[in-house]
């Protein structure tokens, strides 16, 4: 790979040999500066604001914001809704992420086949769920799983099976939500994996072939290790996104997560506390707690990735 660097050194070379080391020490900051400037204002700003609000009795419309210390966090630990929401979130996360990742890996490796015809079509068609407007997604999924008139009901009836009221129990609600997630995000992850797989040097496959490796061995011994940074990326972003799941439960149930909170997720709870109950301070405390949960799980992901790499 290094042999490829045969081009002439740029004109600036040597002109400021002494300064350059100082300069080089600061350039990294310049590269991340535009990002961080915007990031400070629109990423970190809201984060610090939320942290600040979480220490207050902060009514969304009132002018007075009473400092209450950690009281909101105390309330959260004693709030059965928080624990229920956390349980639901984790359940939906596992029900959706594992199949989604597996399917995406499988589809990506099918697409990563040079003899496949109409590549562009398959790739783009798999991405369609991501551009389908939410209003359509809601309508379609609530209709499909509708208790009285949905096609699923129709199939169950014609098979003389009992009709399921999908929205009634926690388990079925979470299954439907997980299906919505899988539907919307599998194509997306497939394309991410595919892009990474395509970047695997062909030489690696050639070596594997010379060694007489079969399709499965090649996949597990060459493809997976080579796209590990990307897998780590999708695992972390799925953890981050999955634990913040909001749209799907809102669409399939209600802003309160259904009559019995069967679809209540942590983000749905904090959203409701902020904009329905106007308890902005309490909602912020839940948001910060969720942030820490996500961070811990993400760090676990990184640690596991490091373990795998070193072993």
């Amino acid at each position: 790979m290094t042999t490829s660097l045969t081009w002439r050194a740029p004109a600036t070379r040597g002109r400021n040999g002494r300064v350059s080391s100082v300069w080089e020490r600061f350039t990294p900051y310049i590269y991340i500066a535009p990002f961080f400037l915007l990031f400070l204002a629109f990423g970190l700003g809201p984060l610090l604001f939320t942290g600040w609000v979480s220490l207050h009795d902060w009514q969304l419309l009132g002018d007075t914001h009473r400092y209450v210390g950690l009281q909101n966090y105390g309330e959260m630990f004693n709030d059965p809704r928080f624990w229920k929401a956390l349980r639901n979130t984790l359940a939906i996360f596992i029900l959706s992420t594992v199949p989604c990742m597996g399917l995406a890996l499988g589809l990506a490796s099918m697409l990563n086949n040079r003899t496949l015809r109409a590549k562009t079509f398959w790739r783009m068609a798999l991405l369609v769920p991501n551009v389908t407007p939410l209003v359509t997604v809601t309508l379609v999924f609530t209709s499909i799983f509708g208790r009285d008139y949905g096609p699923v009901t129709w199939i169950l009836r014609s098979l003389h099976l009992p009709v399921i009221d999908w929205g009634a129990s926690a388990m079925t609600t979470q299954i439907v939500i997980a299906i919505m997630v899988i539907w919307r995000w599998t194509g997306y992850n497939t394309l991410i994996y595919l892009a990474a797989m395509q970047a695997v040097p062909s030489a690696m496959y050639d070596c594997a072939e010379i060694d007489g490796a079969g399709r499965w061995t090649t996949f597990t011994q060459v493809t997976l290790p080579m796209i590990r940074p990307t897998i780590l990326f999708t695992v972390v972003t799925s953890t981050v996104g999955g634990l913040q799941i909001f749209t799907e439960p809102l669409l399939f149930t209600s802003p309160t997560g259904g009559n019995n909170g069967q679809g209540l997720t942590v983000t749905l709870l904090l959203y409701g506390q902020a904009f329905n109950s106007f308890k902005f301070g309490y909602a912020s405390a839940i948001a910060i707690a969720l942030l820490f949960i996500i961070l811990v799980l993400s760090l676990v992901n990184f640690a596991v990735a490091r373990l795998i790499r070193s072993s």
């Binding site: 790979m1 290094t2 042999t3 660097l5 045969t6 081009w7 002439r8 050194a9 740029p10 600036t12 350039t27 991340i32 535009p34 990002f35 915007l38 990031f39 204002a41 629109f42 700003g45 809201p46 984060l47 939320t50 589809l107 099918m110 040079r114 003899t115 015809r117 790739r123 783009m124 068609a125 798999l126 991405l127 369609v128 991501n130 551009v131 389908t132 407007p133 209003v135 359509t136 209709s143 539907w183 194509g187 997306y188 991410i192 595919l194 892009a195 395509q198 970047a199 695997v200 496959y205 080579m226 780590l232 981050v240 913040q244 902020a274 904009f275 902005f280 948001a287 969720l290 942030l291």
Partner: protein, 309 residues
């Protein structure tokens, strides 16, 4: 192979590692060796892909069915399966309520700007986090991940405050500038750079006296082009379909993005599904066209990355 069809003009002028002809022949030999290895696509690949694509497309198809019927098509049982003849009529209704063509232009401006800015800023910062050594790197990266972990729903309030202080309410700035960077993008680009560009390559370039920006431009950009293109497409898609933030900050109908415009089709307390679906079809078409247009480029871009490794 589509790879050989186009050379990117951007890299012209910089001496390429290997001559183009040599690279091409190398590619060809690799391709043929790969072809030899897999003597064809197993039929079950086609079956699985077909089923997946059908599942992916059904809601979109149904959107068109409802959009071309009247609203009651939504609740008819047994359901309506075929498009009706009402599409143009519904189109007229949409157009009479809201300047929809204009909203599509707004969406295009905003998503295009956001996608380009993110591709640039995020790949630059991702490269810095991946390959440059600097103090506080880990901590700053952790901060990036942390902001990703904050639910965006509560961020609306401080964001709106900032926008009003900047007098950016009801402007493109309010949509483009906060969207110009994303933790997600930096993370992704970092991982891509780690995965595709070996450290030795960077070190060699450095010892050759390359400035860091030159390394970014001549080594990083060409190598991550495929993933960056996919990323740009994703960003454009999400920005296009984003609706809560534009709904909060926009006031003037001529500034509305298409998702905000669709909201204007609500009638007293209810949704007229047929007009909403007609508008949704219109709002989705540009993205599908983008797919078709970007599709070939994407395939090419992804392949580029593949060959260079």
């Amino acid at each position: 192979m589509p790879v050989t069809s186009k050379e990117q003009p951007r890299t012209a002028g910089v001496g390429r590692p290997v001559s183009r002809a040599a690279a091409r022949s190398r590619r060809r030999s690799l391709d043929s060796s790969r072809r030899r290895r897999r003597e064809g696509t197993p039929w079950f690949s086609y079956v699985v892909l077909t089923i997946s694509v059908l599942l992916a497309l059904i809601p979109l198809y149904w959107m068109f069915v409802v959009g071309s019927n009247d609203t009651s098509a939504v609740s008819r049982f047994p359901p309506v399966f075929l498009p009706g003849g009402n599409f143009l009529h519904n189109l007229g209704v949409v157009d009479s309520i809201v300047p929809f063509g204009r909203s599509l232009i707004n969406s295009a401006i905003v998503s295009g700007a956001v996608a380009l800015l993110q591709m640039f800023f995020c790949s630059l910062a991702g490269f810095a986090f991946a390959k440059l050594r600097f103090r506080g790197r880990r901590l700053l990266f952790l901060l990036v991940i942390a902001t990703m972990a904050l639910p965006s729903q509560l961020g609306l309030v401080p964001m709106y405050l900032i926008m009003s202080k900047l007098s950016w309410i009801d402007t493109y700035w309010a949509l483009v500038v906060p969207g110009a960077v994303s933790a997600f993008g930096v993370f992704w680009m970092r991982q891509v750079v780690i995965g595709t560009i070996p450290d030795e390559l960077i070190d060699a370039a450095k010892s050759d006296g390359c400035s860091t920006f030159r390394i970014y431009r001549s080594i990083v950009v060409p190598n991550i082009r495929g993933s960056a293109a996919v990323f740009g497409l994703f960003v454009a898609m999400t920005t296009w379909n984003d609706f809560l933030w534009p709904l909060v900050v926009l006031n003037t109908p001529d500034m509305f993005t298409s998702q905000v415009a669709i909201q204007q089709l609500r009638t007293q307390y209810t949704i007229d599904y047929s007009t909403v679906m007609t508008a949704s079809v219109l709002a989705t078409l540009p993205l599908l066209l983008l797919f078709v247009a970007a599709g070939k480029q994407l395939v090419a871009g992804i392949m580029e990355g593949a060959v260079k490794g």
